[in-house]
């Protein structure tokens, strides 16, 4: 691993956070823009502090100290057991920068993961609740999954644990499609269910379109996100899968191709369905392509990544509609479709397209087990803990605040004080 390349990749990750923050505040209403941006900043801050103090200990390191369970004659590594409060990090530098680099990566990754649900709770999720939910994510939820996949936990060790004879491969997530994107997407779904739709979204059985207030910022956010994604995937591949320089170069190529194919697929799909390309859905297609492509990173061939991203970009346009119109889930930024839907597809697609280091059925099996764990174990844990948290710190702003806008309600001043807004009435679809 090249230390300088790894450091440079790490330094690019905040661009992804900036991109996502711009994207979500642009897709929300103008009366909540400042609160959305401050919420993103607070989420990043809370995530960084809580993760370094608590979460990093439970995320652990591959080959580091861990809590184990003995089940059926097998030793299941289920939680990291590194020192709390990042104790001993200075001392560990003499042995090498490995632990510090993983800590830095985890800090950025959990921040990114914490930004995803803000997108779904936009315009009605209170700032205090954003901070509390992010703290919960950074302390427990993210480290749990990160340890299982990247910290030498049971999902990474599926082969030695369950299939020494048949050579079952471990669950693979090269760039965080499962650990960051799907976990964040599950949090987004939970938050969207808890806070419910915005006032005026569903009236008399039909859904009103509440368009984003600044699509230019949304599209600029997509470009920033690409830079961040390249850093994220490259850093994860180097830190957790010992990727070489060649693989990193392919990771960069694949990330650009994934975003491009996802965006073009969404442009084409919306052009065919609505006669004109939809800018916000195309932006979602871009991010969906990046998310789906990040599961395989530099291990997949460019053609395979293009195919995966084309499916992801198309899938997202349908998922957004399904969630909004059929399931009555108000997700202003499309976070659930983009991060959860495309993330799950990316994880499965890795099992279908990855180089055959093991029989195809076994590759697919290990990815399916990862998906089953995310949906069947992580989601109930996330949703129940969010519901409990909601009893202590109510997630949703009161009815007045909903109409007034989160900026005035929570911050006392609007994001655009020189404009007078009259947007209470929305055109039903």
């Amino acid at each position: 691993m090249s230390l300088s390349l790894c450091l440079m990749s790490l330094l690019l990750i905040p661009f992804a956070a900036a991109g996502l923050a711009l994207l979500q505040q642009g897709l929300g209403r103008s009366r909540s823009a400042a609160q959305a941006m401050l919420g993103s900043l607070c989420a990043l801050a809370t995530a960084a502090i809580v993760f370094v103090l608590l979460g990093s200990a439970w995320m652990g390191l591959a080959g580091g100290a861990a809590h184990v369970l003995h089940l059926g004659g097998r030793t299941v590594n289920w939680l990291g057991a590194e020192p709390l409060f990042a104790a001993g990090i200075r001392g560990s530098l003499t042995a090498g920068p490995g632990r510090a680099l993983v800590l830095a990566f985890g800090m950025f990754a959990v921040g990114l993961c914490g930004l995803i649900p803000i997108n779904a709770g936009s315009d009605r999720w209170r700032l205090a609740a954003v901070c509390a939910a992010t703290a919960l994510l950074a302390a427990i939820l993210f480290p749990l999954m990160a340890h299982w996949v990247w910290g030498g936990g049971w999902l990474a060790q599926l082969g030695p644990l369950f299939g020494p004879l048949s050579g079952l491969p471990g669950f693979t997530d090269m760039g965080g499609a499962a650990v960051i994107q799907v976990t964040g997407g599950l949090c987004a779904l939970s938050v969207a269910w808890i806070v419910g739709p915005r006032q005026g979204k569903y009236t008399e059985g039909s859904a009103a379109a509440i368009p984003g207030h600044n699509i230019v910022q949304v599209l600029f956010g997509c470009m920033l996100a690409l830079i961040g994604w390249i850093g994220l995937e490259a850093a994860a591949a180097m830190l957790f899968y010992s990727a070489g320089l060649g693989q990193i170069a392919l990771t960069v190529i694949n990330a650009v191709l994934a975003g491009s194919a996802g965006c073009l697929a969404a442009v084409l799909t919306t052009r065919l369905r609505y006669r004109k390309p939809d800018a916000s859905l195309s932006a979602n297609g871009w991010i969906a392509g990046l998310v789906a492509g990040s599961a395989g990173g530099g291990r997949l061939a460019p053609v395979e990544v293009i195919l995966i991203a084309l499916v992801a970009g198309t899938l997202v346009t349908f998922l957004v509609e399904l969630l909004e119109l059929r399931l009555l889930i108000d997700d202003p930024g499309g976070a659930i479709s983009v991060h959860l839907g495309a993330g799950l597809w990316g994880v499965l697609a890795y099992g279908l397209f990855a180089p055959a280091t093991a029989p195809r059925a076994e590759l697919l099996l290990s990815q399916l087990i990862g998906v089953a764990t995310l949906v069947g174990l992580m989601f109930p844990v996330i949703h129940i803990s969010h519901r409990l948290l909601n009893r202590v710190i109510p997630f949703r702003v009161d009815a007045d605040g909903d109409w007034q806008g989160m900026d005035i309600r929570e911050l006392g001043a609007g994001a655009y004080p020189e404009f007078v807004l009259h947007a209470d009435e929305f055109t039903p679809r």
Binding site: G72, L158, F162, E362, A372, T373, V375, L377, H383, I384
Partner: protein, 129 residues
């Protein structure tokens, strides 16, 4: 003997829970013919068409809320059961095909649980019909 009694007690309790849940759940939409059905609070027991309707609109709301909560918890349990099914396949089976089949079955159970929670959310959003 105490062990047998203990097991019988647990079986009885589980059967009671099952009957209570499904008896209650079947009352979600009400029987098409308005025939007898059960729901948990005594005040809601209807014995026939237009007979013994004791519930007020308020108690109806509470009942709906209670039912939604039960559906929701049942959804979580199904999701966890699906994951346990997938995990058990790894411990108990050896063949790749068998494992794939069990993991796929586990995923379907999870999807069913997620569907139940989605159903709960949708019916809450739509309000009392």
């Amino acid at each position: 003997m105490p062990t047998t009694a203990c097991i019988a007690g647990w079986v009885g309790r589980l059967a009671g829970l099952f009957v209570r849940f499904f008896g209650f759940y079947s009352s979600a939409a009400g029987p098409p013919s308005g025939g007898p059905h059960l729901c948990r609070p005594k005040a809601c027991i209807r014995k026939g068409r237009g007979e013994g309707r004791l519930e007020s609109p308020h108690s109806k709301d509470l009942l709906a809320k209670d039912r939604e909560l039960r559906v929701s918890w049942f959804g979580y349990l199904l999701m966890l059961s699906g994951w346990l099914l997938a995990a058990a396949a790894l411990f108990l089976l050896n063949g790749v095909g068998e494992r794939l089949l069990f993991v796929a079955a586990g995923l379907m159970v999870e999807a069913l649980g997620l569907g139940l929670i989605t159903y709960r959310y949708r019916s809450l959003q739509r309000g009392p019909q």
